[in-house]
Amino acid sequence: MDKTTIICRCEEISCEEVEEVISNGGRTFDDVKRITRCGMGPCQAKICTSMVAEIIHQQTGLSLSEIPLPRMRMPLSPIKLETLATNSTSFSAVKSVLDDVEIEEGKVR
């Protein structure tokens, strides 16, 4: 791999960019992801995971088993928002910022 080799095809992140994160103190796939967006593309890191792990291994000397995999988040493959929605408009955990505004004696608290 040379410096310009593309590691993440979805986000077009080069080897050099991944290496910079590690040399600044990053150690995990998620550190690389947050700084470069490597792994946030449509394939959600399916293609780039192993190459990033290899670079971390080479630069830090950590064994591959010590390098945590990217945190896999629901949904594992893209899904339409309407599939998740249940069309209810009553909320409990989800808030509206105006709910927090309290009026007391005609004035904002």
Binding site: P75, P78, K80, L81, L84, N87, V97
Partner: protein
């Protein structure tokens, strides 16, 4: 590695790195930031990152937030492009009965210089054409916006390092001792000594305080966010509930749950969040969700920032807050003033830890 520092900051999130950067503008040597992981692995990497002001309450807290938002354009000139956008902020309501409350808010805040407009349904739709036509109205202010939190921390760190700040990452602080007027900070990779110690451990503040016998009453409050595939730009404003990032992704969510340090995403809150998003912007129905994430807010017991000197401990400072993205430029500025000048340009007494008794 050098073990003697003038100042050590524990925690390199948006609050700790913001302080370290602002300190480095005033003195070039002797600042160390310790983080148990890499900055952004805490709450600052799992946030909506609105720079939000207009409907914070009470008014003195909104005013405080406004001063911080005002610092953003200058900050991005100094440290580089952090993708700060003053989009204006829109808080929709769906019941006409909320209008009176909105008017009261606008009236009270005019006095402190925060201009809020209460929009009619037509005005909302004119500003944000993809908003649900069933909306009743919205509060609007041009002061609100958003920032890219990853770029923000990365730029803070780069600028701080250029000014001589050292970072030690993957280095957890396990013990803090006080002797001869100095602090000895014991970490996984050795012990450090400093005169000034700043606790910026976010949602972990309580356990860091315990190391010194100081009670920092910060609790955990989880929030979950859904992220869409990149969509062509179609949302103009930061809507309290969702926003479109520079790369086209829409980040949706404004939820609060007590779940300790558990960073799981859960189907019930994901569904509620989806319901909120389609209620606000029905056109999102067909958008594909590529990711969900959750973060744990640092929530002080009374809901307000804890900032400033720790009473009874010389040269010990604390900065723990929710809305840390909004507040970081101001917190960095004020803590730096406190350390360098012994006083702050705007009063922060009401944010003192001493209020908890």
């Amino acid at each position: 590695m050098e073990t003697n520092y003038e100042t050590i900051v524990i925690g390199g999130g948006v609050v700790g790195s913001g302080i370290a950067y602002h300190l480095s503008e005033r003195y070039k040597e002797g600042v160390l930031v310790l983080d148990k992981k890499y900055p952004m692995s805490g709450t600052s990497g799992s946030t909506q990152a609105w720079v939000w002001v207009h409907n914070k309450t009470p008014s003195w807290y909104a005013e405080f937030s406004m001063y911080s938002a005002e610092l953003y354009p200058y900050l991005s000139k100094k440290i580089g492009d952090v993708e700060y956008k003053r989009t204006g902020g829109l808080s929709p309501f769906f019941n006409e009965s909320d209008r009176e409350k909105a008017e009261k808010l606008a009236e009270s805040y005019r006095k402190i210089g925060i201009k809020i407009k209460v929009l009619s349904r037509e005005e909302v739709l004119e500003k944000e054409p993809y908003m649900n036509p069933e909306v009743a109205g919205a509060t609007y202010s041009s002061i609100d916006g958003n920032v890219n939190p990853f770029r923000l921390i990365d730029m803070y760190m780069r600028a701080a390092k250029r000014n001589g700040v050292r970072y030690s990452t993957y280095n957890k602080v396990t013990e803090i001792k006080k002797h001869d007027g100095k602090y000895a900070v014991v970490s996984d990779n050795g012990a450090f000594e400093c005169k000034n110690l700043i606790l910026a451990g976010g949602t972990w503040s309580r356990e860091i305080g315990d190391m010194l016998g100081v009670k920092i009453p910060v609790n955990q409050l989880r929030g979950q966010i859904l992220v869409s595939e990149p969509l062509k730009p179609f949302l103009n404003f930061t809507i309290s509930g969702l926003r479109q990032a520079n790369n086209g992704e829409v980040l949706m969510g404004y939820s609060m749950e007590e779940a300790g340090f558990n960073r799981a995403t859960t189907l019930d809150v994901i569904q509620e969040t989806a319901n909120m998003a389609v209620q606000y912007v029905p056109g999102l129905r067909k958008a594909k969700i590529v990711r969900a994430f959750s973060g744990i807010r640092a929530m002080p017991e009374d809901g307000f920032p804890i900032l400033g000197k720790v009473p009874g401990h010389e040269n010990l400072y604390v900065a723990a807050t929710h809305s840390g993205v909004t507040l970081s430029p101001l917190i960095g500025t004020l803590i730096t003033e406190l350390i360098m000048d012994g006083e702050t340009s705007i009063p922060i007494d009401r944010y003192s830890l001493s209020r908890f008794g």
